[in-house]
Symmetry: D2
Subunit: 148 residues, 4 copies
């Protein structure tokens, strides 16, 4: 599992007095970006050097409680499934102060060419992600799996 943090910005609040629900997808992506940079394979580099895009094909979010302005959030990111073209990432957004879970969900990311055609995840990215998944699986057991 990869962990990073961010703070709720004023721009991210809405008139209900809490963080607007669409921002969680931005934070999910902040977590993925940070994970890939930490794995030694920044996404900026993936786009530029491998000439592929990783596009979100599905997103699911469960909102558990509100995130408030200026609260420190812990973004927990882990890979839970690898396929040839796609992989699945689970993310949890937790209030850092007391560990309360505010939102959890997952996205599926697919490797596509600039004109949108699916393409197998290139090496060394596929290998890095699989290694990360297997490490995770070693820790958390059968819920994390590699499928064909």
């Amino acid at each position: 599992m990869h962990v990073c943090t961010t703070r709720v910005r004023y721009a991210e609040t809405d008139q209900g007095g809490v963080a607007y629900h669409a921002n969680y997808l931005n934070w999910f992506e902040v977590g993925r970006t940070d994970m890939l940079r930490t794995l030694g394979h920044p996404y900026a580099q993936i786009e530029r050097d491998l000439d592929i895009l990783l596009t979100v094909t599905e997103a699911h979010l469960l909102y558990r409680g509100p995130a408030l302005y200026d609260e420190l959030l812990r973004i927990e990111t882990r890979i839970t499934e690898m396929r040839k073209v796609r992989f699945r990432i689970e993310t949890r957004i937790v209030r850092a102060e007391d560990g309360e879970l505010l939102c959890d969900g997952h996205v599926w990311l697919a490797s596509v060419t600039r004109d949108g055609r699916p393409i197998p995840l290139p090496e060394p990215l596929a290998g890095l992600l699989t290694a990360e998944l297997l490490t995770e699986e070693g820790k958390t057991g059968p819920q994390a799996v590699v499928r064909g």
Copy 2:
């Protein structure tokens, strides 16, 4: 089903050359806002007069194809399930020019007090939403249901 339109803003594109995936949640909400205004019960008024918030408790999105800058999008919104406290809205984002489905998904909205406690959907809002659901059900058959 309620229909309105919006155009993809430059601010909503990302460096992949398409609309960033989090914006679809904003567009879903544009559709809900427009539907409630059309039903004669603007959400601004709900918050102010009934002193409740409608908070998103779950969101699911399937991304089918990219939305491009300045493309006109058709936002199709319909209520598909009513409960005491919560209701479910399905939304489809369609490219207006050729009718291609770009994204579909749903959110669950819950009625809560200002301090976040669930509270039954107040009248006349509950009645209006149920009437809209039943009209929809009459057209589309058993997939739209009212549950206890």
Copy 3:
């Protein structure tokens, strides 16, 4: 002067209960996009066909009053100055219901290549913008000028 409208989205409000101030720059851009489309030269086409970007080099905004959720805004856009590489656009955001001015300001846009080098505004774009400026000048007098 070019006029279009937009509504304040829930996503655009902040916990102060009004539209967050950065959104006005998005609305300024909605106005420019709409103006260029109306002039017969959509910005999407400019980027694609002329292979230039129009980049904002300066922005100035005066906030006069709050824009509220779901309010209809009138975006008034006009070109006020043309140079070889750059041009200046003034924008006013007005509450449609009562005509109250909520924000006015201007941006300077510069024509640049993909790698960021300034490049003279290409034809037919330069001609269209100048024609629009001269029409405006004819209506509003000496405040709108073309400089070398």
Copy 4:
């Protein structure tokens, strides 16, 4: 001068391949939030305890160069003028890696009541801001001033 950092998010890029220009106002606000928290007077607390809002009445931005996805930005924030109701903050956004200035500008913030009436900056906030300004002035000379 107060310094903090942030990274350019994918959500903040546009199809021009750089950070969209409106995001700089968000980053300016991230800098102000961080400064007030460091001064011991978080803005969240100001809104809640003093029952005032600090609203942006003017913003000016000069864009010097592009910020790219995942680049680390240094946000430099300093108070440059204090009045009874309003104060002025200058912000510089600098690429952390090489110190290149990407954008500088300022905003004026005014103290207002919940219904939008101007109200003198309350203590201890006014005192803290003035102390910060005077410290700054001691370092940078006459450009930072306190006016009546």
